[in-house]
């Protein structure tokens, strides 16, 4: 019982990382129709920028600088390269963003080396634990989980309550109509992209004290996040949230029951979803068509 609740908590924390990355992936797909394989690179850049700032100034400044830096990077990337590929077929987008992910990963390796980096943590936080029922769980992990929940809710509120959010949501339905009505969909798209990227960057900085950090970490989190997005439904906000927690828990429970299968179970899950319900759990069914 104790082992199970421990596993479920681990699954929740990991799942929330997936949620934060997947929400960015999914809103970018929903609004820009862009399949972004470079999204994991945003996580990695956030993690490394956060590392540098954390070493100099501490954790809190790191959590502020990392998402801003990543959002800026993403906007620059969008303006310089990605924009040319909005209207291209998904295969071309996939190839381009895969290439960008490679370049970012190798650049990080060049700058920081290939070794695993240790995040500096204040000593009171590093060893602190909070008792929940029968188990003691690291306080940082719990704070992290709460932080992700708050961030995701903020993003949701942004989309529901602001004018930008309105344009974005309308743009998902009918892009041309929004433009005809005078909505600035380009600006809104840029903001969506920056938010998605910034979120990934923030999670990169915030999750790295929990998980190890090396240049491949971004890609290692990206692939499960794609699984999450597919399971939840590509383009669906709550699908990404549901999928993230589901996949995180699935991995954690499998790790408990049969560790060797922990890595593969999510792919089995994704394959089943793609075969049986390609639009995902909460996705809309219109997406599966020949290009």
């Amino acid at each position: 019982m104790e082992a199970l609740s421990q596993a479920l908590l681990n699954g929740l924390v990991r799942g929330l990382i997936y949620v934060a990355i997947a929400v960015g992936l999914t809103i970018v797909f929903g609004t820009l129709r862009l399949v972004n394989f470079a999204h994991g690179a945003f996580y990695a850049i956030g993690a490394y920028v956060g590392l540098v700032v954390a070493q100099k100034l501490g954790l809190v400044p790191a959590f502020i600088v990392a998402p801003l830096a990543v959002a800026l990077f993403a906007v620059a990337l969008d303006r310089l390269v990605l924009r040319r590929f909005y209207d291209k077929e998904p295969t071309a987008q996939l190839l381009l963003t895969f290439g960008i992910a490679l370049v970012v990963e190798e650049t990080l390796r060049l700058i920081f080396g290939g070794t695993t980096q240790q995040y500096p943590m204040p000593s009171w936080l590093a060893s602190a634990s909070t008792t929940i029922g029968p188990i003691a769980y690291p306080t940082y992990q719990l704070l992290f989980a709460a932080g992700v929940v708050v961030m995701v809710l903020l993003v949701w509120v942004f989309f529901q309550r602001t004018d930008y959010g309105l344009i974005v949501r309308a743009g998902v339905r009918d892009r041309i109509m929004v433009q005809l009505l005078g909505g600035n969909i380009r600006q809104a798209s840029t903001i969506v992209f920056a938010i998605g990227a910034g979120l990934a960057g923030l999670v990169g900085a915030a999750a790295s004290p929990i998980y190890s950090l090396d240049p491949e970490t971004g890609f290692n989190f990206l692939v499960p996040s794609f699984v999450v997005v597919v399971v939840g439904g590509l383009g669906s906000f709550w699908g990404a949230v549901l999928g993230g927690i589901l996949i995180g828990e699935l991995q954690a429970v499998t790790t408990l029951l049969y560790p060797p299968a922990a890595d593969v179970v999510i792919y089995v899950c994704m394959a089943l979803i793609l075969v049986l319900r390609p639009q995902g759990l909460l996705g809309e069914s219109e997406v599966i068509r020949p290009t």
């Binding site: 399949v35 390269v81 040319r84 077929e89 998904p90 295969t91 071309a92 996939l94 190839l95 381009l96 895969f98 290439g99 960008i100 490679l102 370049v103 990963e105 190798e106 650049t107 390796r109 060049l110 692939v223 794609f226 699984v227 597919v230 590509l234 060797p260 299968a261 890595d263 593969v264 792919y267 089995v268 994704m270 394959a271 793609l274 075969v275 390609p278 599966i288 068509r289 020949p290 290009t291």
Partner: protein, 359 residues
Amino acid sequence: MTATTTSPTTTPVRATMRGSDLRFLLLTAIGLAVFPFALHLIGGYAGLATQIVIVSVATIGLNVLLGYAGMLSYGQAMFFGGGGYIAAILLIHTMPNHPNLWLAVLGATLATTVLALLVGAVSVRLYGIYFALLTLAFAQMVFFIVEQGKDLTGGDDGLQSFPVALLALGPWNLDLTTALPALALGPFGNLGDIKLWYVFAAVVLLAVLWFVRALTRSQFGEVLDAIRENEERSVFVGFNAAAYRLAAFAISGALTGLSGSLKALYDGTVAVDSLTIERSGSFVIYAVVGGVQTLFGPVVGTAIIMYLENVLSGVISFWQLIEGLIFVLAIVFLPNGIVGTILKRRRGARALVDAVRVP
């Protein structure tokens, strides 16, 4: 286009096809014969030519899918690594005393074809990112199964020191690791360490190129083009698009499996890194840089990237960054790849000449 109708002599179509077939085989054979010498001149070590030729076959396999059928697979490693493992396992368990290269390679190719048919049966209904991710999922499953099946596959260590497969040719049993008679080439250096393997691999590549060339010129190839351009329309015309896509997937799996089995036999070892996402991605990079939808693009892309990888990795530590940059630059500035761009230029020039001549 109209210029051809004014052509004075009408040669029988069949005869010209034969002529062009012969010319194709001859020129490609010459190219393959010269390749190791050219590579040697620019600093590639002897074994590299053989590796490039072998891996090219897998890239051609991806091109059948990505280029001609328009399906991006991120799971080619399941066929590449799968072919390697099956060849090795066949050698170890079924013919430890009479290691026959044909049986190992054909067995592996057949097995990966069956795997491709099974995976394809559920995958080809999907498109774009969905298809790419489903193939990735299956490849990850294969990776896991191989990594966990330690008794048969050696787990993380892979399989080494399996029997050296002999090539049965009539009365002979050739050991492909035999060095060719010392080739002292004056200014070209000494290629004495090139193995019989290169000759065999080059013949295989030549056969594969010839096969794919015939494929693209057949009705099958034309239907594949039509499906890629507009699937709905080709279905209305009466073609079973799913069957064609499945066939393309199976051919792709067969060629990639063939390549993987040859690579394993050549290396004398096969490991789980042949089954990774990175391995799947490498074929995509090779094909895109060289040029999809072209016959020689995959070979050129494989040669350039593998050459750079081998030459640069010795000199600078960040060659992978350079590889990534080449890939991105190719996608942005050469969407048709190196070979595709050259062909387009030439076709453009020819069209210009025709346009001037026609009036």
